[in-house]
């Protein structure tokens, strides 16, 4: 299972906006290790932006796990299915 291409692109856009990195530099491998400025505070902004974008709420455990784009896509898939 994985999210469709439209959703992937929306996630990439949100990550790009929040981190201030060009959209074409964001992919499934993006993480705090390779994106400038992705720290724990930006992480908070990112989750807030994703929740608004997709109209859902992650629980605290999911938030704690969403540490890179790959994990965000997995968690989002799970949350969208539960919706």
């Amino acid at each position: 299972m994985s999210v469709n291409e439209g959703i992937r692109q929306r996630v990439f856009t949100v990550v790009s906006n929040v981190m201030g990195s060009p959209l074409d530099s964001i992919n499934e491998g993006s993480s705090p290790d390779n994106i400038m400025g992705w720290d724990s505070l930006k992480q908070l902004n990112l989750v807030l932006a994703l929740e608004e974008e997709f109209g859902l709420f992650f629980n605290d455990q999911q938030i704690a796990e969403m540490l890179n784009v790959e994990l965000i896509l997995l968690t989002l898939d799970e949350a969208l299915q539960a919706k």
């Binding site: 949100v14 906006n17 929040v18 724990s40 505070l41 807030l48 932006a49 929740e51 605290d60 938030i63």
Partner: protein, 598 residues
């Protein structure tokens, strides 16, 4: 409204534009995680043409950073210090362990916190005169003692209420300090949209995203007013805005307006508008109608709360509304960017957005008439830091000005027109009663303003009592009414010269040579203080071109360029003689004549 993600996109995309805007320096002292509010603050600043730089104090270091002398967090040029002191972190007992506290312990906690407020304010004031916005304590939605809490004098809600009062008392001892009531925001959003418990536990970040947006919105009501960016005038369409239906078609008796549904929607909206009028907002009409139909409603409809006397000027015709809005701005002598334009027609709103982007538009779709009042009030466009006596009579003043203009058009020559006005000017040094109004004038005056320096009440206070400054004001009246304090001047004495730091006039008072009266008095004061010359400055802005030639027209000479800023002009006080226009009925010069040099 853009989403949180889109806001950050705008901030990224427009970075070079934003970097070129004037700075808005904000410092946030907090005992919670609040970083996610930053995009909202920067975005709202961008909306009013400012580049916000937000500096966060370290987490839960409010006291140290405020009080410590060597802290570099709060430079003196800061525009505003925002304080967020959440009770959970400040006093676990009062916030969460309330039932375990004795009355004595509660009392001790209150005293400890009152001292804490005071120390912090003293500490900040030692560093800067910046605006201070202290966010008060929220009421618990479920007090520790349950329903019993409301029955006793020392319940948790009562105690937190006392704490807020102690904070307000502390703030009142300093100027340019304001209490931001978070309970208002909580009641607007509702508890479940206000807090976000997940982030409180994960990151000590208590507020939901919607609250962060709403808190930033609230803070910007203060910051807009501080920067003179608040709105002055509400221009209203008539049909389906002030009443339901089209008066030209349905007639006076057919429109919806009254105490019962559906007219009650419009009746209440008119009350909201009238409340704005009574705090100093200028009202104008811009409507495609036959003028007699509209005035018929104003004069004859029994349930009209708005009357003709409340309307400063009106453009009721079939021409395009962009031209009409320009005419209204010119009639009232205000900038287009001081105007909010409300209309039910999407076409008209779009037209104004395209033709006059400076005007703020408010689309009021008739199917949402029940929400008109909230739509108009919630952005806080018209909010001011103080409401002065001048504000309360402003509507009358603008109305009187319209009558004057009518007389002017009938007068055969200017001199006889001036005489017929029976003008009275009163010039005096700033005192405690005038200082708030002078500060307000420096914040709001854009067009007749030679240097456009914005000052807080505290700064004006400092000038007025300072060793090397004089602050003068001019109050104007005529047979049609009192215009209040409309002009101000700040003189700085340096090396035997009087530097005119600020010289400004409210636009509605122009055309009576009152600015010449004030300047003449300033020069007189400067000479009495022992100065040999006065120096006037003109710093061009987008809006003050009309005063470019002011100093030369008043006998100032020797223009000098000040690099990247403007020009200076000298006035030789040796040749000064006191002269005022003859057509004034009376000029009161309420300044002690035996004052010496400063």
């Amino acid at each position: 409204m853009n989403t949180y993600s889109q806001i950050q996109e705008v901030l990224n995309t427009d970075r070079t534009i934003i970097d070129g805007l004037p700075k808005l320096n904000l410092v946030i002292l907090r005992n919670i995680t609040l970083e996610p509010i930053e995009p909202y603050l920067r975005y709202f600043a961008y909306e009013i043409g400012l580049n916000a730089e937000v500096r966060f104090g370290t987490y839960d270091n409010v006291y140290q950073e405020a009080v410590e002398e060597n802290s570099s967090l709060i430079p003196s040029l800061t525009d505003a210090v925002l304080l967020f002191t959440r009770l959970e972190t400040l006093s676990w007992g009062l916030a969460k362990g309330f039932n375990g506290l004795s009355l004595t312990q509660i009392q001790e906690e209150k005293q400890r916190l009152a001292q804490y407020f005071h120390d912090i304010l003293v500490g900040i004031r030692a560093k800067t005169h910046a605006m201070i916005l202290w966010h008060g304590f929220e009421m618990p939605a479920y007090p520790s003692l349950g329903i019993w809490d409301s029955q006793i004098a020392s319940g948790q809600v009562a105690v937190i209420h006392d704490l807020n009062q102690l904070l307000k008392d502390s703030l009142a001892q300093f100027s340019n300090t304001y209490f931001v009531d978070l309970n208002l925001i909580q009641s607007r959003l509702g508890l479940s949209h206000y807090y976000d418990a997940r982030y409180w536990y994960l990151a000590h970040s208590p507020y939901a995203r919607e609250s962060l947006s709403e808190i930033a919105t609230e803070d910007f009501k203060f910051l807009r007013a501080l920067k003179g960016k608040n709105k002055k005038c509400l221009v209203l369409d008539c049909d389906n805005v002030l009443w339901g239906g089209v008066v030209g078609e349905e007639g006076l008796a057919g429109i919806k307006l009254g105490k019962t549904y559906p007219g009650s929607i419009y009746y209440e909206f008119q009350q909201t508008i009238l409340n704005l009028y009574h705090r100093g907002v200028i009202l104008a009409l811009c409507s495609k109608n036959n003028p007699e139909d509209v005035w018929d409603v104003f004069q004859k409809h029994p349930d009209m709360l708005l009357r003709e006397e409340h309307i400063a000027t009106a453009q009721i015709n079939w021409q395009d509304k962009a031209a009409n809005l320009r005419q209204i701005a010119s009639d009232l002598n205000i900038g287009l960017d001081s105007i909010v334009f409300a209309d039910d027609s999407e076409f008209e709103i779009d037209l104004i957005r395209k033709e006059l982007p400076e005007v703020t538009t408010l689309h009021l779709p008739s199917e949402k008439a029940f929400a008109f009042s909230d739509e108009l009030i919630s952005p806080g466009w018209f909010d001011t830091l103080t409401i002065t006596e001048e504000d309360k009579i402003r509507g009358q003043a603008y109305k009187a000005e319209a009558t004057r203009k009518l007389m002017y058009s009938k007068a055969t020559d200017l001199e006889s027109y001036y005489r017929s006005l029976e003008l009275v000017a009163e010039i005096r040094l700033a005192d405690a009663f005038i200082i708030p109004r002078i500060a307000q004038l420096t914040q709001k005056t854009n067009q007749f303003n030679l240097t456009t320096r914005r000052y807080s009440e505290a700064e004006i206070q400092a000038f007025a009592t300072g060793e090397s400054y004089d602050v003068l004001s001019l109050k104007l009246g005529d047979r049609f009414g009192d215009l209040g304090i409309v002009g101000a001047c700040i003189l700085e004495y340096r090396n035997g010269k009087a530097l005119i730091d600020t010289f400004l006039f409210s636009c509605r008072a122009l055309g009576r040579k009152a600015e010449e009266v004030l300047l003449n008095c300033c020069l007189y004061v400067a000479k009495t203080r022992g100065c040999t010359a006065a120096v006037g400055f003109y710093y061009p802005t987008r809006k003050n071109a009309q005063v470019e030639g002011f100093y030369p027209s008043q006998g100032f000479e020797n223009p000098l360029d000040i690099e990247n800023q403007g020009k200076s002009y000298q006035y030789n006080l040796e040749k000064f003689r006191k002269q005022t226009p003859e057509f004034y009925k009376n000029i009161v010069f309420d300044i002690s004549l035996n004052m010496g040099p400063k």
